[in-house]
Symmetry: C2
DNA sequence: CAAACATATGCATGTCTGTTCATATGTTCA
DNA sequence: TGAACATATGAACAGACATGCATATGTTTG
C-alpha cells in the first residue's frame, strides 16, 4: 500500500512533471548553446550593441573562423540573427528574452 | 578617424560589456549544467517535488549510478541540494530562481 | 556485528565539441 | 572582370563528457 502510493506519486510525475525526450532535448539545446564561455561572451557583447564577425573576433581576441563557428551554433539555437550589410554581417540577439535569462543566471552565479 | 571611433566602440565593449574569463566561465558553468537532457528532466521533476536518488532513477529509467553522477554535476553547479533522511538522500532545487529561468527558456524553446 | 539497502565514486569507453588551418563563398569597387 | 575584403565551411585533432559496471561508503535494523 505504501508502495502503491509511492508508485502513484511517480506515475504522476512521469505523466505531468517530466517532459518527453524531444522536449527535454529542445530545452537542453538552448542551455547547451549558452554553456560555453566564448558564446557567453559573444552574447553579452551583443547585449550591448550589434557587431560584425570581425569585431567580435577582435573583442574576444579569437580567430574569425572560430567566431563564425560559434555564431553558427548560436544561430541554430535561435539566440542570434545575422543581417548582411554589404560585405559585413551584423549580428544581434534575436530578442531581449535572452537578456532576461542571462540577468537571472548572472544573479544566481554571483550570489 | 573612422577607425578610431570604431576602436573606441570596441574598447568600451571590452571594458564594460564583456565579462572577465572567470566570470564568463561561472556563467557558462551554470548553463553547461543545465545543457543536457537527463539533467533537464531531473530539474523539472524536482520542480514538482523532492525525490530520492532511486526515485529519480526509476522515473527516468536510468541506472542509479548514472543519476548519482548527474546529481553531483547539479550539486556542483549549486542547482540542487541533497538532504540525508535515514538511508535515503532527498534532493530538491536549491531555490525557485531555477524554476523561473526554466520557465523563460521553455517559453523561448516552445515559441 | 552482520546483512540489507541507498547512495557515491573510480574507471573505462564511446561520443561529442571547441578550436585552428585551409579554402570556399559572397560582396564591393576600381 | 579581377583584386581585396568579410564571412562561412570542411577536415582534423585534442580535450571534455555521459553513461554503465564494479565497488566503496554510509545507514538502519535484526
Amino acid at each position: 500500500m505504501d508502495k502503491q502510493i509511492h508508485n502513484r506519486k511517480l506515475e504522476q510525475l512521469i505523466t505531468n512533471g517530466v517532459p518527453e525526450d524531444d522536449h527535454a532535448k529542445k530545452i537542453s539545446d538552448f542551455f547547451k548553446a549558452t554553456g560555453e564561455p566564448t558564446r557567453v561572451k559573444i552574447i553579452l557583447a551583443l547585449s550591448q550593441t550589434s557587431l560584425s564577425v570581425n569585431e567580435i573576433a577582435e573583442i574576444l581576441n579569437m580567430s574569425q573562423s572560430g567566431i563564425s563557428h560559434q555564431l553558427k551554433t548560436l544561430r541554430d539555437a535561435r539566440i542570434v540573427v545575422g543581417e548582411r550589410l554589404g560585405k559585413e554581417v551584423h549580428y544581434r540577439l534575436i530578442d531581449n528574452h535572452i537578456v532576461n535569462i542571462f540577468e537571472q543566471v548572472i544573479k544566481h552565479a554571483d550570489e
